[in-house]
């Protein structure tokens, strides 16, 4: 089950990675990395579920918390300097 989920997530990661690499604007890349981050977070939760380990979940908490900060900072940058 989780293996299947991982495959799905890999496809998702590929999609976002494509966006990150392809651009064309900086905002697009931010969309890409944001998505990538979400996918990694989801993947971590999936692996936590698989390995039954609660500790891994904390990682996710932090990731979600700080990921938002990065997006905001990047947005601020785009706002000031453009794409």
């Amino acid at each position: 089950m989780t293996a299947f989920a991982i495959v799905l997530l890999a496809i998702a990661a590929a999609g976002f990675l494509f966006r990150l690499l392809r651009g064309p604007s900086l905002s697009d890349r931010v969309v890409g990395i944001d998505g990538l981050q979400s996918v990694v977070v989801i993947a971590i939760i999936v692996s936590a579920a698989r390995s039954d380990s609660g500790i891994t979940v904390e990682t996710v908490l932090v990731a979600v918390l700080v990921g938002f900060v990065a997006t905001t900072a990047l947005s601020r940058f785009i706002e000031r300097r453009g794409n």
């Binding site: 991982i6 990395i33 990694v40 891994t56 990731a63 990065a70 990047l74 940058f77």
Partner: protein, 796 residues
């Protein structure tokens, strides 16, 4: 004996440091040290001559065998007499030479005293390394003394030349001494004499030692520094560059020749070099107009003479050398003093500007001193110099039956003719014969020298005459000295007239030819200058020195400009290539099998992300975009951490990645989007090649290191850590326990690093409170020059 050295040191430093108030009286104070030495040496003379040398020793670095062993034997006694006796006279002479108080005199007096101490150390040392130590000290003090008139660029250049050449020789010599010492098992000369080592290494060592001795004693081809050193004040020239320091090389040769003259190429080398030096020096002396340079080249020639005498390693010949050392010390110092007097009173040393000095008593005395000393130099009887020459000729005639002995004799005769000629030239020059009418006349009516000024030269002349007439006065010392050098030898007595022999005949020939050469001086000069013009293509030693200096300079600039090109990318390329490629072969040799290719499909996905984003980071042009690629790699890393069972790491990775991104954005937002074009320091294909090499290397490292794990039986540290985490660390999260407890010391350091980095970053990035006219904050540190003293405009 140490008290003498310490006395010199104390007096020297005392005068240098506090002697300003003394003015020229500093030289009187300075005289204390040589005076004490002379008195002390005199008191020890009888026991020393009885073959009961005085010794003293101080172990400095025992494990290395460096100890300061002093030994006053008969030969040393001769040298001490020379060093301290002339030193004493020079001090007195300086009082006359420096007639006014000038700043810097005390410094000169102090360094002169230090030199005297060092020179004393050289001649008293019974230990090769101790000798070397004092030897180098004389080089240093000589450097300071030559450069005494430091505002004169020529003085500086001459000082540099002297220390460069003698320093180079000194280093060769150091290596040579070490080789000899290691081969002989001791550095103590008095022990080496008993059992001199031999062998290939010792031969090489001896050549090196000889190079050192040659440079110090201004032998060809290292002689160029000595004439250049004549820019020094005359007392210095008289003392260092004629009477004492330049004899250090000769002294060393004298000490070593009895042991090593038969070893390897010693004798050939010494004879060839000595002969060349003697001839070339004489020829060049003959062409000088500057009295001081004339003497300098004369000194070079005489030093070559001494090399010929001591280097042969024959005690009969060496005995002549001892006589020559003494005689030379007396007449050459006196002549230098005369030059100093003339220079000081008339302001010139050019023989074309001298027309005689009138008949003041002082000048008459000077003329007498000149004639007597020059005659001694020329080898006229009944002076001390004559005895030296006579003994030398006799020695080579009777005992020069070794290879090259006859050639040496011929050279001595030829060079002695030259010596006669330049001695005559000196005398005639002082007497005003060369004075040219179209030149400014400096000498006539010059103030006549004071008693103190002329006195020391007179004393030396008296010695020249006295020892010439009554050699028996020094006979005992010289014989004892010879026996010291050659234990068991039976030297002939020193006497003025040894009977009608071949040597006497040769002396007559020399004098006759010398007179002829002097009479024919004009045609000879013409021939010489034509020859010299023809020889211009042949590099002189001076040119050799300059070429060395120049090539050092060119090589230094080229190498530095190439290696240190100032470009960070190139530095980094060299560094990463070195670090990765050098160990590559070693690791690659162990890479015989590959581990499993893929552990889990998850890895494939994560690595794919890393690779794609990594490539993206290289390709994208936008800064932030590249930073985002890095971020993507970071997230993939976080994923990998989780996959490897390292959630704590993933957590950290997320936080750090995000923080980095934020910081990047914070900083990069200021940078212009479009930039001035800079040519890359390294072209892209080259960068790719370097990157590829690094990648391959890391790949190999990683695989062969992990293969190697199977070679080690012991468990890894972490197994113990897992066992102990709960019972001892009181924590179930092993990573946390490691960080907080087991390796808390690391964590303390890590926190410190973070804090310091934060302090640094804040202090760099924080603008000051001041604002400029547009209201923008001013970075105070950039502008703040603080309360440093206001510099003159030129220094900004």
């Amino acid at each position: 004996m140490f008290f003498l050295l310490v006395l010199h040191l104390v007096v020297g430093i005392g005068i240098t440091a506090g002697g300003r108030a003394l003015g020229r009286q500093a030289f009187l104070v300075a005289a204390i040290a040589p005076l004490a030495t002379v008195v002390w040496a005199a008191s020890k003379a009888s026991s020393v001559l009885d073959d009961r040398p005085v010794t003293d020793s101080f172990a400095w670095v025992e494990q290395l065998g460096i100890s300061i062993d002093l030994r006053l034997d008969a030969f040393a006694l001769v040298m001490v007499a020379l060093v301290s006796g002339i030193g004493l006279l020079i001090c007195v002479y300086s009082l006359g030479y420096f007639s006014h108080d000038q700043p810097g005199q005390a410094r000169l007096a102090g360094i002169l005293t230090l030199f005297a101490g060092s020179m004393l150390g050289v001649v008293l040392s019974d230990h090769l390394i101790a000798l070397f130590i004092f030897w180098e000290l004389t080089s240093i003090t000589s450097f300071l003394l030559i450069g005494n008139g430091d505002t004169n660029a020529r003085a500086r250049a001459a000082a540099m030349q002297a220390i460069f050449i003698t320093g180079a020789g000194g280093l060769a010599m150091l290596a040579g001494l070490i080789i000899i010492g290691q081969a002989g098992g001791t550095y103590r000369i008095s022990e080496l004499v008993l059992d001199p080592p031999s062998g290939g290494a010792v031969n090489a060592g001896l050549v090196l030692v000889l190079i050192g001795a040659f440079t110090k004693s201004a032998q060809a081809p290292f002689s160029s520094w000595l004439p250049a050193a004549m820019v020094a004040p005359t007392p210095v020239s008289a003392y260092l560059h004629s009477a004492t320091m330049v004899k250090a090389g000769v002294y060393l040769v004298a000490r070593l020749a009895p042991m090593f003259a038969m070893t390897g190429s010693w004798r050939t080398l010494v004879l060839v070099v000595g002969a060349t030096t003697m001839l070339v020096g004489g020829l060049r002396a003959l062409r000088q107009h500057d009295l001081k340079l004339l003497l300098a080249y004369g000194t070079v020639s005489q030093l070559g003479f001494m090399m010929l005498l001591f280097g042969a390693g024959e005690y009969h010949i060496a005995e002549a050398g001892i006589v020559l050392i003494l005689a030379h010390g007396a007449f050459k110092a006196a002549l230098f003093m005369v030059v100093g007097i003339i220079d000081h009173e008339t302001g010139t040393r050019d023989i074309r500007e001298l027309h005689g000095f009138g008949s003041a008593t002082g000048w008459r005395v000077v003329k007498v001193v000149t004639v007597v000393s020059a005659a001694s130099m020329a080898g006229l009887p009944p002076l001390f110099g004559f005895i030296a020459k006579e003994k030398a000729l006799d020695g080579y005639l009777e005992h020069g039956d070794f290879a090259g002995g006859t050639a040496a004799l011929v050279v001595i005769v030829l060079a002695s003719i030259l010596t006669f000629a330049y001695s005559a030239r000196f005398v005639l020059g002082v007497l005003g014969v060369f004075g040219e009418p179209n030149r400014e006349v400096m000498s006539v009516g010059a103030h006549s020298p004071s008693v103190l000024f002329a006195g020391p030269a007179v004393v030396l002349s008296i010695a020249t005459v006295l020892f010439g007439l009554a050699p028996v006065l020094v006979d005992g010392v010289i014989e004892a000295a010879t026996i010291t050098l050659f234990p068991g030898s039976e030297p002939k007595p020193v006497e003025l007239f040894a009977g009608f022999n071949t040597a006497l005949l040769l002396s007559m020939v020399i004098i006759g030819c010398g007179v002829g050469l002097t009479l024919l001086r004009r045609p000879v000069a013409d021939v010489q200058s034509r020859a010299s013009a023809g020889l211009r293509a042949v590099p002189s030693t001076e040119q050799g020195y300059l070429a060395v200096l120049r090539s050092i300079s060119v090589v230094a600039t080229r190498v530095t400009a190439t290696v240190q090109n100032g470009s960070l990318p190139i530095y980094l390329a060299v560094i990463v290539l070195t670090v990765t490629l050098v160990p590559l072969a070693a690791f690659a040799s162990e890479l015989d099998e590959l581990p499993q290719f893929i552990e889990t499909p998850t890895h494939v996905a994560l690595v794919a992300v890393m690779i794609a984003a990594g490539l993206g980071a290289c390709i994208v042009r936008h800064r932030i975009a590249a930073a985002l690629m890095l971020g993507a790699v970071g997230y993939a890393m976080a994923g990998l951490y989780v996959a490897q069972g390292a959630p704590d790491l993933a957590l950290t990775q997320f936080s750090i990645e995000t923080l980095s991104t934020v910081l990047f954005v914070l900083v990069l937002r200021f940078l212009p989007r479009s930039w001035r074009h800079h040519a890359p320091a390294i072209a892209a294909p080259m960068r790719i090649a370097v990157a590829g090499a690094v990648g391959v290397a890391v790949f190999v490292f990683a695989l062969s290191a992990s293969n190697a794990r199977s070679d080690v039986d012991e468990p890894s540290m972490s197994e113990v850590m897992i066992e102990n985490s709960l019972p001892k660390g009181k924590g179930s999260n092993v990573v946390n326990v490691i960080l907080v407890d087991f390796r808390g010391w690391d964590t303390m350091g890590e926190i410190t690093v973070l804090l310091v980095a934060a302090i640094g970053a804040v202090s760099l990035a924080r603008p000051g409170r001041r604002r400029d006219e547009t209201g923008a904050p001013v970075f105070e540190e950039i502008l703040d020059v603080g309360d440093e003293p206001k510099l003159p405009e030129a220094l900004r």
